[in-house]
Amino acid sequence: MAQPVAQLVGIHKRFGAKLAVDNLDLELPAGEVLGLLGPNGAGKTTTISILIGQRRPDQGVARLFGQDPRRPGARARLGVTPQGSDFPRTLRVAEVIDLIRAHYPRPRRTAAVLEEFGLTDLAERQTGGLSGGQRRRLSVALAFAGDPEFVVLDEPTTGLDAAARRGLWHAARRFVERGGTLLLTTHYLEEVEALADRVALIDNGRLSAIDSVAAIKARVALAQVSFQAPSVPDLPGIEHLSQAGTTITLFTRDADRLVRDLVASRAPFVDLRVRPATLEEAILNLTGNRP
């Protein structure tokens, strides 16, 4: 069997009293796109920081192309997005890209990187003068500048407009078509659907599920039904229920049926609202972890 691009075995990581990562195993075969989902504070960022060599696990083994990711050589085929977007303010966009390219043996051409991420017109602009969305685009561009085989994108489209988001997806797909391996964290279910082969759910530092996108989606595709009522009606199909004063919030897989049942039950209610649950809400419900 081919060597996995990235591998975590029995990883533990503790910060003071908090166990950030708890016996986590993860494996990425070459060419796969894995979406990493989980509530804030679930341990996604710590897991990634161990995988890319920024942190040392307390226990367990991390491998990147078969080597310890803390060794610079192991990272020669890795591309990462910067977390914040605070580039050296007085450097120009093309200069920042060139500085990153210099770290890789066979980087892509600067012009090609600029073009792909819509930065050509901004090449001579100092990064201190870029807008938030332009900075995000530069951040993502840097992950691909060295022509890596494995790219880690941590919430790549947060703060991007719709067009820039589609542009990024396009670039990510082309990368995967060329044989690249991608690890992606995101808050958007549609982003996972658009890009990922598999999804891993992380909760409380543990891997709570890892499956195909369709399977995970079926598990997390919940609707939120809320209304005002004096008491909670007893209805079938409720995945999770919460009550704040007279406001009742229900999560269900079948909102149509729940509403029909609610009306049929003749229970008094006002101010009915139905909307799809966000990925965050769905995962919180799925993992049994209450906000």
Partner: protein, 244 residues
């Protein structure tokens, strides 16, 4: 090597476009030399001495601010964290910082030297021209460690005020702005204990073609050890906090 050059180029370009960096490192020492050095440099000896004083002040400023303030700010920057994910160790970046400090310190010394020769009566023998760079380099080492120690022990917000709070008084007490014999008596006593004074003793001796006072070498070596230990302890503490 290619990486060292890339980081060097980036660091130079980054700082050259930053007026807030150029002023204190290049303009301020030259300006102070013009105000307080040139009018008092009536003879070759005093001109050489004053050149050495203000050039020492310039070198102190460049290395102290570049390493001190630079490190304090990078410690909290996501950019620096990102650079650690690239396939390279810390050496090219650190080497580039040293080379960059040398360029700025050298330029600052050069500007003061030109002013000293053109507008005062400074004149350097070949021997002085060879010994001065040695003295500047030797003095830059403890102050570089001093800056690194400061950078790792204070917060980014406190770094610039803290650096100034050490930089300006140490320069004055060390006799960089006026000769030690003109300092108030109590200040002159304290002066003997400062690293700036002993750095200046070496550059003064080189500028005047006098033998280097061995005691000043020992003082500087001692300060180098002290600051290097403080820098290393600060580095370890910081690594432990951020990347454990």
């Amino acid at each position: 090597m290619r990486l060292l050059l890339a980081h060097w180029r980036a660091a130079l370009v980054e700082l050259i476009r930053l007026p807030g960096y150029l002023f204190p490192t290049l303009i301020l020492p030259l300006m102070l030399f013009a105000f307080f050095g040139i009018p008092n440099a009536s003879r070759v000896e005093t001109a050489n001495l004053l050149f050495a004083s203000f050039a020492t002040f310039a070198v102190f400023g460049v290395v102290f601010f570049q390493f001190g303030v630079g490190i304090a700010q990078y410690r909290e920057s996501a950019w620096e964290d990102y650079l650690r994910t690239l396939p390279a160790g810390p050496l090219p970046r650190f080497g580039a910082q040293i080379l960059t400090a040398m360029v700025f310190a050298g330029t600052s010394i050069g500007l003061i030297a030109i002013a000293a020769v053109a507008f005062a009566d400074a004149s350097f023998t070949l021997q002085a021209a060879l010994r001065l760079p040695v003295a500047f380099l030797a003095g830059a080492i403890p102050f570089g460690f001093f800056g690194i120690a400061l950078g790792y022990w204070v917060t980014p917000r406190a770094a610039i005020p803290m650096a100034n709070l050490l930089y300006l008084p140490l320069s004055f007490v060390g006799g960089l702005w006026q000769p030690p014999d003109r300092l108030p008596r109590i200040v002159a006593e304290i002066s003997q204990l400062t690293p700036t004074r002993h750095f200046a003793e070496l550059t003064w001796a080189a500028a005047l073609d006098q033998p280097w006072p061995p005691a000043s070498w020992l003082w500087l070596i001692g300060y180098t050890g002290l600051f290097a230990m403080a820098a290393l302890a600060g580095y370890r503490r910081d690594e432990g906090q951020r990347f454990s």
